[in-house]
Symmetry: C2
Subunit: 504 residues, 2 copies
């Protein structure tokens, strides 16, 4: 027992070293997006590349393999969700993957990502897909090699999905997405044919950046984001990054002619931040101190952004504050008008600007295309045509060009293939967790109306945050809600809110 405990301590110590290097990279990445001077980019690339090498070397140290082997045979892993069992299971997963990936492949993928991103930027700027196509082709080739190196069961997609969403499969996603798709398409159709349109012009009045910053911070603080353990800064592309316990940083951007971008963006990033701030500090470095998956992370951001932040009770508390913060922009606006505007649904071309209902259709389209690209059922040259025809089928509109179609997302150029589904998984998990929270906590939404978000945050901390990676996402959702992941809670939520907003 004492010997196994010592081995476990040694393993955790090694993982903490890896995490220390990774958290340093995270800070450098944050600085690069927020404050780094333009010309600092060359030294920054050296720093990040060195930290990546050091981190890789530290994590693939064969001693970690030995420790995993010895611990796997010890009495400490008998209880499947014990600290040691969870740490061994999750470390084994990422250790094996890291060891199986040849260094030259990792290097080639990193180099390709740099060039593919340049090509993508140019292609999008010129609306010319053919500039990006050879790079997408090359990226797919590398990702197929990656999949073959790490191995998989079922669809080749599973090999690439695994690091983002451990244990999730294309087969399962297909099932869940199939349940979701037809009802969503139908819902959107009903909204469009209703001819009703939310008064969204009130969101496009003048909202001064300073006031936006103050108001968004106030909201973030009110829902529980701890600014002594975190920050909010400005960057071109909003993100959240957990440097470690006591240091979680989010960013946003201010459009003075649009309220929604920064405010809901900050609620979204705060949701990520609350998860990071709720991970157990004593397990920092080990899987028990890490988020389960991108889907679960996204469930936290989407819950605060959409299920909480666009709810009637949320605005019951915040509307008077909104009015005080922007007396001119909100002059004559009623709470009902406001609530409808922030819950507006309308098919649009750009995923990142889309609403809560149509968003998932954007994801399913990408998922289908990725599946077929990987198997070779779809050729890269046919992507624009397929993209456009699917957009018509799903959303009833057609991109006028590829910049607003298949070139809109940066992800594929980064090599992030099989990443998109985690966004919809986030929406699905969020709705299922939230339904459970409402059933577990009496008067949950009534508390929002008084500015009290502690009951929900406390529930999330207890049910989700404090566990780190102790359970897989699938296991967690079963433990928390008593059921596997299902489409119904999200569909119910979306149906209810569009009924309220559009009467359909």
């Amino acid at each position: 027992m004492a010997k196994s405990q010592a081995l476990y301590a040694e393993l955790v110590g090694k993982l903490q070293e890896v995490q220390t290097l990774e958290s340093t990279s995270a800070l450098l990445g944050w600085d690069q997006e927020t404050y780094m001077p333009t010309r600092g980019v060359e030294v920054r690339a050296r720093q990040l590349s060195m930290l990546a090498s050091l981190g890789h070397a530290a994590f693939t140290d064969p001693r970690i393999g030995e420790l995993l082997g010895e611990l796997a045979a010890s009495e400490l892993v008998r209880e499947p969700y014990s600290d040691v069992a969870a740490v061994v299971r999750e470390t084994r997963r990422s250790y094996d993957r890291a060891r199986k990936l040849p260094a030259e492949l990792v290097k080639e993928m990193a180099a390709t990502a740099v060039m593919a991103q340049q090509a993508w930027t140019e292609a999008r700027g010129k609306g010319n897909y053919s500039i990006f196509q050879p790079w997408l082709e090359k990226t797919l080739g590398l990702k197929r090699r990656e999949a073959e190196c790490v191995g998989y069961k079922g669809h080749i997609y599973n090999a690439l999905l695994d690091p983002f969403e451990p244990d999730e499969t294309a087969e399962n996603l297909r099932g869940v997405f199939a349940e979701l798709r037809a009802p969503l398409v139908e819902l959107v159709g009903r909204i469009v044919s209703s001819g009703r349109r939310a008064p969204i012009e009130i969101l496009h009045r003048r909202y001064p950046a300073d006031a936006q910053s103050t108001f968004a911070r106030e909201a973030a603080k009110q829902i529980g984001f701890d600014f002594e353990s975190g920050r909010l800064d400005v960057s071109v592309h909003p993100f959240n990054t957990g440097i470690g316990p006591g240091d979680c940083r989010m960013t946003t951007r201010y459009d003075e002619n649009y309220f929604g971008d920064a405010f809901f963006g900050v609620l979204h990033e705060s949701g990520h931040g609350l998860y990071e701030q709720g991970l157990p500090a004593e397990h920092w470095g080990s899987p028990l101190g890490q988020a389960i998956s991108l889907g679960i992370h996204e469930s936290q951001s989407r819950m605060w952004e959409n299920l909480v932040g666009r709810s009637r009770s949320f605005w019951k508390f915040f509307f008077p504050k909104l009015h005080a913060a922007y007396p001119q922009a909100t002059a004559g606006v009623s709470p009902e008008q406001w609530l409808w505007a922030v819950n507006h649904v309308e098919p649009s071309l750009i995923r990142t600007e889309s609403d809560e209902v149509t968003y998932n259709l954007h994801i399913m389209l990408r998922f289908e295309i990725e599946l077929n690209l990987l198997t070779g059922n779809l050729s890269t040259k046919d992507v624009p045509a397929v993209w456009n025809s699917m957009t018509r089928d799903f959303l009833g509109i057609t991109p006028p060009n590829d910049a607003q179609g298949c070139l809109q997302d940066i992800h594929w150029s980064h090599g992030a293939i099989a990443y998109f589904p985690t966004y919809t998984l986030g929406n699905l998990y969020a709705a299922q967790f939230y339904q459970q929270a409402k059933s577990d906590i009496g008067g949950l939404e009534e508390s929002f109306a008084t500015g009290d978000f502690k009951p929900l945050l406390g529930w999330l901390r207890e049910k989700i945050h404090r566990h780190g990676k102790r359970y897989s996402a699938g296991e967690l959702v079963r433990r928390v809600t008593g059921r596997p992941l299902e489409a119904k809670p999200l569909l119910d939520h979306l149906t209810r809110k569009t009924k309220e907003a559009y009467g359909v």
Copy 2:
């Protein structure tokens, strides 16, 4: 030849790795002082400690010793100031020092510094020297051990001075300082007895922080600081840190009731920044891409702060801009009054707030005390009495308590003993270089009056910045000015300006 070139390339590659780690630490340090959330300190300590270990391991790699040995025997070092000769000479100096210091001593010094700084903070807060005394005693013991480990010629002080000011000696400093001291004491005496007092209250009017930031940035840009390769932020203790070519960051703080702190602080840090931005980027990582010494670094900051920034011609250009930036605070102020106010001389207790003339007396006092503490001629318990009596001798005033006396500086608590003289060396080098620049460049100060600082910056780049550590400080000053370091240029400058301001 080809083989030696390959060895040199290998050496430089290794030094660049060390520098990459150090520059990462520099960024982490900058972030800690500027933006890090309060509770981020624990993870930050882990990150910095890990980077320090990695950097130490990389720099003390025996392979570096081998490369230095082989290169020292090669034809590439025949010319004493060739790239290779300079790199070998300077790397050998720091490599030997790093190898001679036992890891346990380095660790104990780091741990002691943390605790000594806590004790110093408490002692200063309570004005109670006895809280700090045992820590000063312990620090001195460790510094004596450090000196014995690395070895030295002459005074033990030399061993500790060397990393800050290579090749400088206590013996030489004593000589230069002796030339300086009596004339300065006499000069201060004359100013005090003149009974004349600059109208410094105009500096203590209301200067809004935003306007200070804008005006200081404008001045920094005007003298040549490149904001695409650098930043200005706010921190409690102002500093400058070079992350690497293209990334040099300075900080300041804004006192809305005092003009001088931020403005001259930014000129000072810009001077450091111009040096960093002028180091040859192609030699980044090797000694040829590094500043010569703290004294030479300080000569650049002091030159821009004092010799340029407090000059008549500088304010000829900036006074109208000052007036436009702060119409209320400068209402009715004449350029002459302003010039006198920013050149005010008056004995005061706190070094960091002291003027250009009395500043050096503060340093000489500390130098004498450090010399005697290290040899044991002065006991730590007698420091307050000696400090106070020397302050009386040098400045004619007596600290009412130790917080305004021997507890005012953080340096000793950090283990930075033998650091203070580099400040006065900076003033001396600055005056000697500046005298030479005026003689080399026709109409130098006339150009300032038109806002043109390029002739001076170009001269500094050519004579000083581009050489990195190719020459020692002593060799550089001889090459640039044709003479060894002397007290006369600084004395001439101070005499001239106080004559102009006070008529004495």
